[in-house]
């Protein structure tokens, strides 16, 4: 009788402990859920504050980020190197042919450069402002299926500002959308929020290069009577006040859905270093819209 009552007491005590734990878990859960909802609301209400907070965290955690992401980058680079070994013979032949073609182009470029200088002198044209380049290391490829951005190790203390263009050696990659002291976030042109005014070389048709998050960006707002063929070069148009005219972007091709898409010259996924370019273009309307919105999805 006595042992039975002790057992019952123990069971009751354990049940009460469990109930307390359940209540504690529930309280904690409600607290963290509310906190998450407040954070989510802040994204919409004060996106600039959220972006500043994100950039501050990125600045503070720059060493940790590099440590975490560098083995992955290293593995990806090595994997690509192994892949390249299989194609070394083919690549060698292709490079030899390209080299010959480039030598011819070099001669042509020299001749055209001399001609251009002579004509400029003749017309007494004002020299364009010097373009400033900053080489920056990509410390984190933070692109996912929902947002295409990368983080570079260079920030406002190195002279970076919002809206500056980001290039690889092959062509345009994107633009700076947020700067911290030591880091900056780059919106890739494949992001669904990216819009870049472009011109198609040859036809001189203007369009907006719109990211889709899924594959290559497409050409939007094309004139109805355009005559764009496959394989035409696309360059920035200089409108919108971010990029000057002529920055190489990619080549056109037609998608199965009938859109004209652009295969970028530069592959942002492969870039370990990028060039941040200050063209000295004054911040125009497009730059202001980048600066004023701020949120990842409300750029």
């Amino acid at each position: 009788m006595k042992s039975g009552s002790i057992g019952l007491g123990l069971a009751t005590r354990q049940m009460s402990i469990s109930t307390v734990q359940d209540k504690k878990q529930k309280t904690c859960g409600v607290f963290f859920l509310s906190l998450s909802l407040v954070l989510l609301a802040l994204n919409i209400l004060v996106p600039s504050l959220v972006n500043k907070a994100k950039q501050y965290v990125a600045d503070q955690a720059v060493v940790a980020t590099e440590t975490v992401f560098s083995p992955v980058q290293y593995a990806a680079t090595e994997l690509m190197r192994v892949k390249a070994l299989w194609e070394v013979q083919k690549n060698n032949e292709m490079l030899a042919a390209e080299n010959e073609r480039l030598i011819e182009w070099f001669q042509t470029a020299n001749r055209l450069d001399a001609e251009n200088r002579a004509l400029r002198e003749l017309l007494n044209m004002k020299e364009e402002d010097a373009v400033q380049y900053h080489a920056a290391k990509v410390i984190a490829d933070t692109a996912t299926q929902y947002s295409h951005t990368i983080l570079v190790r260079m920030g406002s203390e190195d002279g970076l500002t919002k809206g500056q263009g980001v290039l690889s050696h092959e062509g345009l990659i994107g633009r700076v959308i947020e700067t911290g002291q030591k880091t900056a976030r780059v919106l890739l042109m494949s992001d669904v929020n990216s819009r870049i005014p472009v011109t198609i070389e040859g036809t001189q048709d203007r369009a907006i290069l719109a990211g889709t998050n899924d594959g290559d960006p497409i050409l939007d707002h094309l004139p109805k009577s355009h005559a764009i063929a496959e394989g035409q070069r696309v360059v920035t148009s200089g409108h919108g006040g971010i990029f000057p005219y002529g920055v190489p972007v990619g080549e056109t091709y037609k998608t199965k859905d009938g859109w004209i898409a652009v295969r970028p010259f530069a592959n942002a996924n492969r870039a370990n270093y990028v060039q941040i370019v200050d063209y000295g273009v004054p911040a125009g309307s497009a730059t202001r819209s980048v600066a004023s919105s701020g949120s990842t999805y409300l750029r």
């Binding site: 529930k26 909802l37 989510l40 959220v50 975490v68 996912t144 299926q145 998050n213 899924d214 409300l298």
Partner: protein, 174 residues
């Protein structure tokens, strides 16, 4: 019915579990390039949440799950609070239903996980589509669901083995 917190293994003994949780969290801040689709983000940490909340909640406290969600939000430039919200909600639902899930065979665990991953991805896709005011392509999200499900079985095997080593937990039904 003993307190869940009294089941917490000693810190040193549970160190491999904490380490693996951390590794899964770090992996969840990375993306994979898959065939024609680049940058697919697979949140493998969901498997850790599912396994530990159902089997041994003491090793994965709610504050850690919240911080893990925020870490992913910060490191992947995601909507701040989105992963934290989804993780905490997922944990609370699992915590409420863990006794029912525990009594089911593995195939039911897999089905529940598939449903939860699909819901999680739908939440992310819907949230981002709504805020960017554009319908995003579903292919990368579908791929993320499939890859997460494919990763679930081997990861569960590893977690189960660790669980057995740390706490002498039972016979596998897998």
């Amino acid at each position: 019915m003993s307190s869940l917190y009294s089941q917490r293994p000693p810190f040193i003994k549970a160190l491999p579990i904490y380490f693996l949780n951390l590794v899964l969290l770090i992996l969840s801040t990375q993306t994979v390039d898959f065939v024609a689709v680049d940058n697919v983000h697979v949140v493998v940490f969901l498997t850790a949440i599912f396994y530990w909340v159902v089997h041994l909640p003491a090793v994965l406290p709610l504050w850690f799950i919240f911080i893990a969600g925020l870490t992913i939000d910060f490191s992947l430039d995601s909507l701040l609070g989105l992963h934290a919200f989804a993780f905490v909600l997922y944990t609370l639902v699992l915590y409420k239903t863990r006794r029912i899930i525990l009594s089911q065979p593995f195939i039911y665990h897999l089905i529940i996980f598939i449903l939860s991953v699909a819901f999680f991805e739908l939440l992310r896709w819907g949230g981002v589509s709504l805020l960017s005011m554009q319908i995003l392509s579903v292919l990368p999200s579908l791929l993320a669901v499939v890859l997460n499900i494919v990763a679930f079985i081997p990861l569960t095997l590893v977690l189960r083995h660790l669980h057995r080593v740390v706490s002498g937990y039972g016979r596998s039904s897998l």
